[in-house]
């Protein structure tokens, strides 16, 4: 996913910009962006093993619980913040979104789409969705705030966040096709470039 994501957002990332990646994992995305765009990138991660991997790659990283610590870094002026597949795990996704747009000019958010048809079939049969993108049972999942593409865009509207660009990914990991025509039904994931 990370390598594909770097391809999608490459054109959104200015050369030599200052980037912060919330939930950066092992730092692969920042490493790609460093290679392609010479960004100065900081990762934010809570898992020690992933942090070790970031350091191994030479990617600066901060150990932080995003739910608790976003305010601490308000003074830093970033060009771009990234939150890939993490926003649905936060206690207050709406607050986090606004904070990200205060500490950076633009932000990239990617999220799994609960409106995807397979999820809907699961729900119609009376069960919480389990799909390749959302593989965990309801009691194990970290995803406490799942939403559909429509829900997310409505939130942006409500918070006066403008969507500068968006890309939808279908079940094969590609863009286009049916996911372009009706993303809320056919996209497994939405990738957004946001600004306020």
């Amino acid at each position: 996913m990370a390598i594909k994501l770097s391809k999608i957002i490459n054109s959104w990332v200015p050369e030599n910009s200052k980037v912060i990646d919330f939930g950066c994992g092992d730092g692969s995305l920042l490493k790609e962006l460093f290679k392609n765009k010479q960004v100065l990138g900081y990762g934010v991660e809570i898992n020690d093993t992933k942090i070790e991997k970031c350091i191994e790659k030479g990617i600066p990283v901060i150990k932080l619980d995003i739910d608790k610590g976003l305010n601490d870094f308000m003074s830093s002026n970033f060009d771009l913040s990234i939150m890939a597949r993490s926003i649905q795990c936060l206690k207050n996704p709406d607050l986090a979104l606004n904070r990200m747009l205060e500490l950076s000019k633009r932000c990239v958010v990617t999220l799994p789409n609960l409106g995807y048809w397979r999820c809907r079939i699961n729900l119609a049969s009376g069960k919480m969705p389990i799909t390749p993108e959302l593989p965990s049972s309801w009691y194990e999942t970290e995803n406490i705030h799942l939403c559909t593409i429509k829900d997310f865009e409505n939130l942006c509207l409500k918070e006066n966040i403008s969507i500068k660009d968006k890309v939808f990914i279908n079940r094969n990991g590609n863009q286009g096709g049916l996911s372009k025509i009706n993303p809320n039904l056919f996209a497994v994931e939405g990738v957004y470039l946001l600004e306020k």
Partner: protein
């Protein structure tokens, strides 16, 4: 491990931050491993308050080195790959010039007349050592606590001479509470009847009780409440192994033992001087920390420990935020650490991996 211990004389002397100077001075230095041909593998370790030049391995005089858990062949800081340098800081009492050494101009023990030094003075004296060892750039400068302050100051004072800095369980300045603790320690030394206003050498005595009390207080601040509870709890000390008759609990016995042991090894004037160095440090003095870090080129690895209440992780975070404001490639990681402030001395898988990965990346 190839280890060399030597006393190096600096006949050129040094101007100190206070405006005073030393016409000449000595540094006790220990090195591990070998400098490679292009001199790119040198690492400087900066010791904390009561540490010394003996960082790794075992020596007759100082036992196991203070960072032996992390420094040595195939350890986190691998002496097979790196040439590791550590010196006893100016003002100390393990061989370098300090209050207990002889003033060359008067041929008398310095005592209280040894000038107050600072973190900046230490860094400047270590730079002179660096020149003497023909090292052009440190690959890594690291330390914990007061040692971390030196690593930070190195990157500020000599931006082209430090590639990477490891700042562990440290702060950019001491807090009011830190200063308060140190003042209680100093007061206990000064009020010892054998202190003689710092000139106890002439009376052939040492203010042992004062140093002991100071160290006992120090130990409480180095450990965490959790660690003390799990290690000692409310267990009573065996009658047979009591070091003092008055002792009831194991924790009392531990402090008595540690204090007693230390009081025979550490010089009282050095204790006072070292605590003053710690209190006096403020990387952002006369300006903000963000401004102070303006010219830094080093990469940072800042590590804090949750159980550390002397220099809690928030102090490290302050450095990280200032570093990010200056676009410094800086990482900040908080680890559990079971030993309170002392956690920086102990090996753990993550801590060790972080340091190794940082040096090697």
């Amino acid at each position: 491990m190839k280890t060399e211990t030597k006393l190096i004389h600096f006949s050129e002397g040094i101007e100190l931050e206070s405006g005073k100077s030393l016409n000449s001075f000595d540094l006790m230095v220990e090195t591990y491993g070998e400098l490679n041909e292009d001199k790119s593998n040198a690492i400087l370790l900066c010791h904390a308050f009561s540490g010394n030049h003996h960082a790794a391995g075992s020596s007759e005089d100082y036992g196991i080195g203070w960072w032996d858990q992390l420094v040595g062949p195939n350890k986190s800081i691998d002496t097979n790959k790196y040439f590791v340098v550590c010196c006893n800081n100016l003002g100390g009492c393990a061989g370098s010039s300090g209050p207990s050494s002889v003033d060359p101009s008067s041929q008398k023990i310095f005592g209280k007349s040894f000038p107050q030094v600072s973190v900046l003075d230490w860094v400047n004296s270590q730079k002179m050592l660096m020149d003497k060892l023909n090292i052009e750039c440190w690959h890594f400068v690291a330390g914990g606590s007061l040692g971390g302050m030196q690593a930070l100051q190195w990157s500020i004072s000599y931006p082209d001479k430090v590639k990477k800095a490891g700042i562990f369980a440290a702060a950019s300045k001491s807090s009011s509470q830190n200063i308060a603790m140190n003042e209680v320690a100093r007061e206990s030394i000064r009020k010892d009847e054998n202190f003689h206003n710092g000139n106890y050498y002439e009376h052939n005595v040492i203010p042992k009780n004062g140093i002991k009390t100071a160290r006992m207080l120090g130990h409480i601040t180095y450990l965490s409440e959790e660690h003390m509870d799990s290690r000692f709890g409310r267990k009573f000390q065996d009658e047979d192994s009591k070091v003092e008759e008055s002792v009831s609990f194991e924790v009392e016995n531990y402090l008595q033992y540690k204090g007693e042991q230390f009081s025979e090894l550490f010089d009282a004037n050095s204790y006072i001087l070292m605590t003053k160095v710690m209190d006096g440090y403020d990387a952002g003095k006369d300006k903000t920390l963000v401004e102070a870090l303006k010219d830094v080129k080093s990469e940072f690895l800042i590590v804090g420990f949750y159980s550390d209440w002397l220099y809690p992780p928030e102090r490290g975070k302050e450095i990280q935020i200032a570093a990010m404001d200056n676009n410094i490639r800086s990482s900040f990681v908080v680890l559990q650490g079971d030993h309170g402030h002392d956690s920086f001395l102990f090996n753990s898988k993550t801590y060790s991996n972080l340091i190794t990965n940082f040096i090697e990346s």
